[in-house]
Assembly symmetry: D2
């Protein structure tokens, strides 16, 4: 492989680009996890996460991946044989389904085509039909990292309420948090599952459960066996800024810095910035003449865009060519869409020029990989970013790979 | 609190001091966890850990604390109702006992006074008596971080063999690895549980299971439900340098650097260095006229020394005074020895002068806290380190706090 | 000012982007500048710089800016009243003229329009006319950082030789080194002046003199008074890897890393990469319909491109708009071209996607600043980079600000 | 050489230990030195340095060593043939004498034995005798880094005033600043020369001139030729936060962090801390039975202590043994005391336990090198630090190397 010069473009939809300020914070020497400096740090990050999740309940921080945090949510609230309602929106919801079954839950897993979010009407119908309230939890992935499709978390809440159903509402906000508006308390989410390596702009290694009072009540009678992920000792210890095991201190340093940066920018600005990148990206994709996996524009993700390659053009070969030539990492198609699409991550610590560099890498890479397309993608994104939308009559830049 | 100048002395028995070289490696920007650079990194650290653990079997790396890795060891090898043999050697073995019971195991938990290691003769007797081979696993903590007492892992292996018992042999090497000789394959350990923040000189955040062929065979029929900690998908993915979830890339960078440093020094030299620090520390404690928790010298830990404060002198008050005045963090007494002792960590990235600084902080702190003692501790340690042991006839430096 | 997200684009023509690997090296704790570790480091960087400059003579490393290194070159080789031949190629050659006069030299400063390099024919004529060899040195700036115009260092050497003139040949390679081929010994350059913050990919703070045997001979009789910059004690100390004053150790750490990176990439590849960025940039400028300061294509710089703004459009206002909106820093017009142009740096640790991001920031910024232009610049650069040059017949993307 | 574990002890009297916080600041990517962020940074560090030097005049910051800053002081205030009064207090004052002569100054260099500071009475007598005011400047080194002897800067000021002499007063505060009280304006110092790598806790690479109004007036008529070090363009540019050349941005980041840390601790506390370390060190040296170079206790340095080795014991061999065995760097004897002493630096980012570690390295190293001594040094220092001074009657710990 050739030695690359310049900065690698890490545009998988997580891990995302980590700000230098966060990396430098992580670079600090670890401290005693039972001493006063750590206690202050722990209280600071717990308070900050509550502000970001817009919740007042406890936040449990695990050294773990998001997968572990999903398991924690399940183990702490449910009992063997419990029934849950879940939705096939993509690879990650599919994995949660498998996880739930591993623990003996009965999952009503509503099939999907990976191109749509959860339909609130289906939620309402399912719950309304469940007269006996056998369904103990509704499990939803807010933003499917594998597809770039979001589900309407607020709308699903309304559906649950309309059905007057007492099920817990558990939401995977792993790749939506800090990219899309999320209001845990307002939307009465009972357990939110979060990871560090997406909108929080940290390296992977931390995962979170944010927990409502209703979830805490459920926890008291939840019978699934658990050890490491058991909430109670952590909640107890957290009151004093402590943890029941050695917490990953370095990532806590980084988390404090990341929260500071997000709040300096302002969460509303952060969301608006992500929406802008996402729209620019979609215009680029349409400029190339390629298809976006997400069908409904109102479900299109702020965090990433999944781009389908034309029949006969393996998306992984495209990604490999782009990595080799332009030192740009894109996300692969996962599970049943493997090889059929690539995912452009546009979340986290990111800006207009990084986005254009990214889109340019895709556009030039499509040529390099011989994928038929038009070359107008970057131009379309720039037009949007400058507030100057091209009219349909204007010719796009001529296609490179096409013909 | 006063602003401290100079370097904090982090002498809890984990997290330990992290080398600048490791911190700088961790400070590198995350990369795509499915790209070729990460694959090479993952293979490198897996191979390195095998050399350090002296094993040829798989190494499973979790973003987790050591607690999680203990749970992983249990979940992947045992079934509900299985009987295991364990030993109360301190706080951590006690926690593992609780963990095992949480998962429905029947634990024969041999009581102990926290001042001795596991007696191989007891192991042999217990197993010999178990004619029906109901005991499925023997669980031992190599070095009890809470007490500074080690158990004879090789000797226990012999005891198991003498009893011709097929139980799995599971060892917590969390605070022994890279401080004390450990030979997984030679000693036929079936699952070794390790954490990153001790002798491996990393921040907390990673934990490991090293696994024998016998453990892999047991895994096939183990029925405890598991998700995040399930071995199989990780073993499968690891073959290609991948992980079934987003691995904590930054800590992998650091792990590679730490393994390089350990191998540059040479493991034998690393062990000898730790033994030397431990002996110097014990001489310092005897120089102060204080008691060491560990009763048998041959069980004294290379990693830490637990020092008992005299009746009426709360060890936590001593630690607080030392932290305030000398910016030195020591380990607290945990569980049933809380307030009765403090723990001096002398493992990891450490040298003679850091040790003397540490012991001086303790010695001066004992005076500051009004604990009766003689002042000869630092001198005794220096005498030992220079190879010049003082004879009993020579007077020690006069006591400060003592009367 | 709004909080910016994502990475700042630092595209002034120095300081350039510093690789993370170099920054991490600089982040190491300083060491004893008279100890064996530093001695090895000093010898390593001196040897490395010789390879990069393609010279076998001594390299003097000063904590200084390039300005100081120019002064060092003058002070160590010349005497009060000496005559030198120099050329007004831009702001920096003008500053060196002022510097030479401050020290009592008589400068034959050949006037220029800042849009052309040094004409070798003029050099030859001037020297041929100097029958008495009153001219002691010819002073040339290889790449004028203020204009983006290079001079033909090899050609000027031939001119000097043709005139059979014994003058020293002193070259400022501050912004050419590691961007453009430079062969000190082959071209018989007598003193090369270099700075750290350009192609060497370091922060500012170091500057260098590379010195020929002929320059060393001249040094013996050079009478200009000097202290800090005196060569002899440094040459003497350097033999043992030492310095006559405390050297900037941290930057030495970084320099060693930078040299490693440049040699891993290969100098020929480094030059080719820079030539490619420069050509892509010029195509972008032409795509915008703007003028490049450099008149002769063969003199166009590999390191930077100076872009003239149309009459009535202050270039500093354009730069300010681009900085505010796109977090992109561009170089200002200096001296007599202040306000008339901006400079795009494309040297150092840089790649295709960073370049496109940079050019996109300019293109979108021209719109933001209301500068009349066409929008085809980014597209033209991408076409060139993909090896797919648009034909003249194809319409460019429609102009934004243009009328 | 053996691979060392643990932190190197860098106890030369500069470069000193750099705080992690400062290193991390330096690790930030460089920024445009003409952009608004740098302007704010430059203004911040200039203001901070004024507070630390207790002056209201301009501070000129050069990428340079202290040597360069001395030259700058001379070049900017004096003219060829000017007479100056200077004092041989050690190696650095000797070097400044050489520097002054290089520039054609006539130096009245009062001989000294390197064991005493400047005698204010001699200053007064010399100046009183200079009826014609031929002496243009009095040049004093506040703390001689080569000897550990300080001169009475305030007392010399009084001597100048008593003699009613108009000479400029130029002080090298390179290794005194931030270790010893220094009041530029109150003491009417005209030029203060400072370096970054001592009490300012930065790596080497920056040096400073702080300048009084009287020095600025002298500058107007000073005729020594100068280029890089010329004050005027920097003073002019500094008003807008700019520099006439590319400033070493990374070290500016570090300087801002260092000033913050010093002010958080409080300058008075910083001085008291240094005085305490110095006294503890001297007690250790007396405990070893070795001689301190500095004769008068009131002239003993807060920054370092020069320890003389007994006749027949080369101090460099002792230092080499200590470096090899204990990874501790000490300062060498320089110039005419080479081989006769070693210097223990105790300035900068430093605390009690680092000091004890350092002194233990010396004490154990004296044994390793076979230098006759008593072993009571570390104990004496600890007694002092705990506020518990041993009485003369109590026996010291028995000598190791002594016979």
């Amino acid at each position: 492989m050739t030695a690359h010069s310049g900065r690698h473009f890490l545009q998988v939809p997580g891990p995302t680009n980590v700000p230098d300020r966060v990396l430098r914070a992580i670079d600090n020497p670890p401290i005693d996890h039972r001493g006063p400096t750590f206690v202050a740090l722990a209280k600071s990050v717990q308070a900050g996460l509550k502000r970001i999740l817009r919740t007042t309940g406890p936040i449990l921080i695990y050294p773990s991946s998001g997968t572990g945090a999903w398991e924690a949510a399940i183990l702490n609230t449910l009992s063997p044989g419990d029934k849950v309602l879940a939705f096939e929106t993509g690879q990650f919801s599919t994995l949660w389904n498998v996880m739930a079954k591993r623990h003996g839950l009965e999952v009503d897993f509503v099939a999907g085509d990976w191109r749509h979010g959860v339909d609130p009407a289906v939620v309402e119908a399912k719950l309304a039909a469940d007269k006996g309230h056998a369904i103990k939890a509704v499990m939803v992935v807010h933003n499917e990292t594998s597809t770039g499709v979001t589900s309407n978390v607020a709308g699903i809440r309304k559906a649950i309420d309309s059905a007057r159903h007492p099920a817990l509402y558990m939401v995977d906000a792993i790749s939506s948090l800090c990219a899309t508006d999320f209001r845990m308390d307002e939307w009465s989410v009972d357990v939110t599952v979060v990871g560090s390596q997406k909108g929080l702009m940290l390296p992977p290694g931390l995962a979170f459960n944010a927990v409502s009072q209703k979830a805490l009540a459920a926890h008291k009678s939840a019978k699934l066996p658990r050890g490491y992920f058991e909430w109670q000792p952590m909640i107890d210890a957290n009151d004093s800024g402590l943890y029941p095991f050695t917490p990953p201190i370095s990532l806590f340093f980084g988390l404090e810095a990341a929260i500071e940066m997000l709040e300096e920018e302002g969460l509303e600005n952060v969301f608006a910035r992500h929406a802008r990148f996402a729209e620019a990206t979609r215009r680029a994709v349409r400029g190339w003449g390629l298809d976006i996996l997400c069908v409904n524009p109102q479900e299109a993700s702020n965090s990433l865009t999944a781009v389908m390659t034309p029949e006969g053009h393996n998306a992984d070969a495209v990604r490999a060519a782009i990595l080799e030539r332009y030192d740009l990492s894109l996300g692969a198609g996962l599970g049943k869409v493997a090889g059929k699409l690539f995912r452009i991550g546009h979340l986290g610590w990111f800006n207009d020029l990084m986005l254009i560099g990214t889109l340019a890498g895709v556009e030039m890479g499509l040529s390099a990989a011989g994928v038929p397309h038009r070359n107008g993608g970057v131009g379309a994104a720039m037009d949007y970013l400058t507030g100057n939308v091209r009219t349909a009559a204007e010719p796009a830049r001529a296609a490179a790979g096409a013909r």
